[in-house]
């Protein structure tokens, strides 16, 4: 099979979700019925997450050189995102459950679901928020990085993976394998990317 024949972008994901959601709404089909039949597609999320190890290992050379910067960046950024998400919902008068569903959206969708269950949020809302964040990143990342004058594929991948979770990573991989590697790393460590890291990461390259 030609691998390029199956390139799924953020727009495809967004359109599919809206379309399927609309059809389910119109026909009055319960989500559980749909999900049972889409189980196979959902199941592939697992092996696909494991598969991120391959670009990670293949580009380990790049990774080693920028490791201190990456580590620093991810730690700082993750705190900003989680605390910021909760605080913003509470400030704007949202409910506790919505706030807690916001916290783990920086990580991959499966982790977000898991963490939300533990802290008392709504798992399906967390999944949707994680995906929405990913779509947001996919739409904006190129112009944002251009605006910040960043041309480093590693920064691209890290930013996509940390801010945009799986969708962001999928977006990064479709551009460049090194970007995909850093997106995988970001997801694996479930941390967020911090602005200052670019300078630090560059100083180690």
């Amino acid at each position: 099979m030609d691998p390029d024949s199956c390139r799924v972008g953020w727009l495809d994901v967004l359109i599919s979700i809206l379309l399927i959601g609309g059809i389910l709404g119109i026909t009055g089909t319960p989500y559980r019925t749909y999900f049972a039949s889409a189980q196979l597609i959902h199941f592939l999320l697992g092996p696909a997450t494991v598969a991120l190890a391959v670009p990670l290992v293949r580009n380990l050379g790049h990774l080693r050189r920028s490791l201190p910067g990456v580590a620093l960046a991810l730690t700082a950024g993750s705190l900003v995102s989680a605390i910021g998400g909760i605080a913003l919902v509470e400030i704007c008068g949202g409910s506790r459950a919505a706030a807690l569903s916001m916290a783990p959206k920086a990580v991959t969708t499966p982790i977000a679901i898991e963490v939300t269950q533990t802290v008392g949020g709504i798992p399906s809302l967390a999944a949707v928020l994680a995906i929405a964040g990913g779509v947001l990143v996919a739409i904006s990342i190129q112009s944002l990085l251009k605006w910040a004058k960043i041309t480093d594929w590693r920064a691209f991948g890290l930013a996509a993976g940390t801010a945009g979770s799986g969708i962001g990573a999928a977006h990064a991989i479709s551009f460049d394998e090194i970007a995909g590697t850093f997106a995988a790393l970001a997801i694996g460590l479930t941390r967020k990317f911090h602005h200052g890291s670019k300078k630090v990461a560059k100083s180690f390259s």
Binding site: C6, V8, D12, V13, I17, G21, G25, Y31, F35, I41, H42, L44, L45, G46, P47, A48, T49, V50, A51, A53, V54, V57, R58, L60, A76, S81, G84, G85, L88, V89, I91, C92, G93, G94, A98, M102, K105, P110, I111, I113, E114, V115, S124, A127, V128, L129, L136, L144, T162, A163, G166, I167, I173, G180, I187, T190, K192, F193, H194, H195
Partner: protein, 101 residues
Amino acid sequence: MLKAFAILLGCQLVGEFLHRIFSLWVPGPVIGMFLLAMLLLRKPSALSEPLVSTTRMLLQCLGLFFVPAGVGVIRNLNLIGREWIPILVALVGSTFSFRFS
């Protein structure tokens, strides 16, 4: 390709196993990702051409695999309708905050 898929599923299985046994909050597939990375580092010959092409194919379709979970939005329409302002502000705010902090 079948063998490559078996390797991926095997890593996920072991990851899932560790996740359950030690009740870790990191999900099985993510543990599986680290296991596969360690395996490939110890034994670089395991990084065969079928494994590379299979994973590439899977990763290019990564977005598709999020669709079933994403459709779950229809179950939260009430909550989102009620609290769409805080949710939208926080979603945009926390996604971009790291770049301006």
